[in-house]
Symmetry: C2
Subunit: 208 residues, 2 copies
Amino acid sequence: MRDIPPATVARLPAYVRALEGLLADGCVTTSSEGLAARSGASPALVRKDLSSLGSWGTRGVGYDTAHLRDQVVAVLGLTTQRRVVVVGAGHLGHALARYPVFADRGFAVVGLVDADPAVVGTTVGGLVVRPVDALAELVASTGATIGIIATPAGPAQEVCDALVAAGVGGILTFAPRTLHVPDDVDLRAVDVASELAILAFHDRRRRA
Amino acid sequence: MRDIPPATVARLPAYVRALEGLLADGCVTTSSEGLAARSGASPALVRKDLSSLGSWGTRGVGYDTAHLRDQVVAVLGLTTQRRVVVVGAGHLGHALARYPVFADRGFAVVGLVDADPAVVGTTVGGLVVRPVDALAELVASTGATIGIIATPAGPAQEVCDALVAAGVGGILTFAPRTLHVPDDVDLRAVDVASELAILAFHDRRRRA
DNA sequence: TAGATTGTTAATCGATTAACAATC
DNA sequence: TAGATTGTTAATCGATTAACAATC
């Protein structure tokens, strides 16, 4: 297996979901075209992506749905459960701590942290909210490798630094600001207000 | 102003935020390098992006921070308030309906809809939750142009179709599945479980 | 065999970086 | 004028699409 292009990696989760949908529909084999329709990619792109993973299709037939699903899941590293800590127990933190889709995909939220003393000690989704200064200990004791930042913009960089110091390898942030991490830490950012702003741009164009 | 590349549009909200941060720090002028540090782009990319908007910098000096902020805000179409309806009043819908950053950016959540009769009629963030079949009327009466899908995967395509039929021009979905919209509707997807899966991929690589 | 569909190569397209002349 | 920094062009890089030979 050679290096997998980042754009391909970003599509793999959609392929896994498409394959599970096809499995649920009883499709034993799938073509690149069928997979494309369900995943939003083009058939050519599906074939190219899968071939960069090593390719497990049969010419003239297609892909074995269950087998391909297992292979893509393995490539993504979803066979091992990943432990996740969430920082910020506001509305978003609550939503994340109880999001059932995480469990379906092998992620377990094992810790929830908040800066507000009034929130610390309350229970959310079976987890007792811990204070921010318990973060390092929490990551260490749970073996969490991924941190989620669900705080306002203000404390986000500080929280990010604390997660890095605690040793997580990947961070997903929802805070509306740019964050900086060392090269060996993987950062992904979801910015809801920016998404709306991009929609607003096209909206304006459409009406102009 | 020529056509603006999609990759550039996607960075404009980060530039707006960077510029507002610089303004708050009292920086009257900014260089592409300063803007790059705050926005996460490279200095060359900042200059290229801004020049594709028409360019308002001064060689040897930099950009007028306040003026540039106003220009980028105008390009994004954020000078007019946009009205947004949210479908799904679960944890995520709650979080979105009250997210203060939307208001800061000129977005107003004007409607909240849910399929659960037990939730319909309750008040969230000053909005009374409406039933799903009130969606078209709600969009029409409020003049909403953007819809947010905060439902589980199951009903998401149906909700998406209903938003399109109701006449919104842009949709932001959080549902973990691929959605299909007509060409004249703009769709952006945030998929939290996929983001974690991508982090898991790199995590696996790091430990391998 | 004939039809279908993959895997891969070549062509295209778009985005980023590097470099530097223009110019404040 | 000298130093700084933009705006733009050319070079590079990566991603997508098109096309088709391989082959089930």
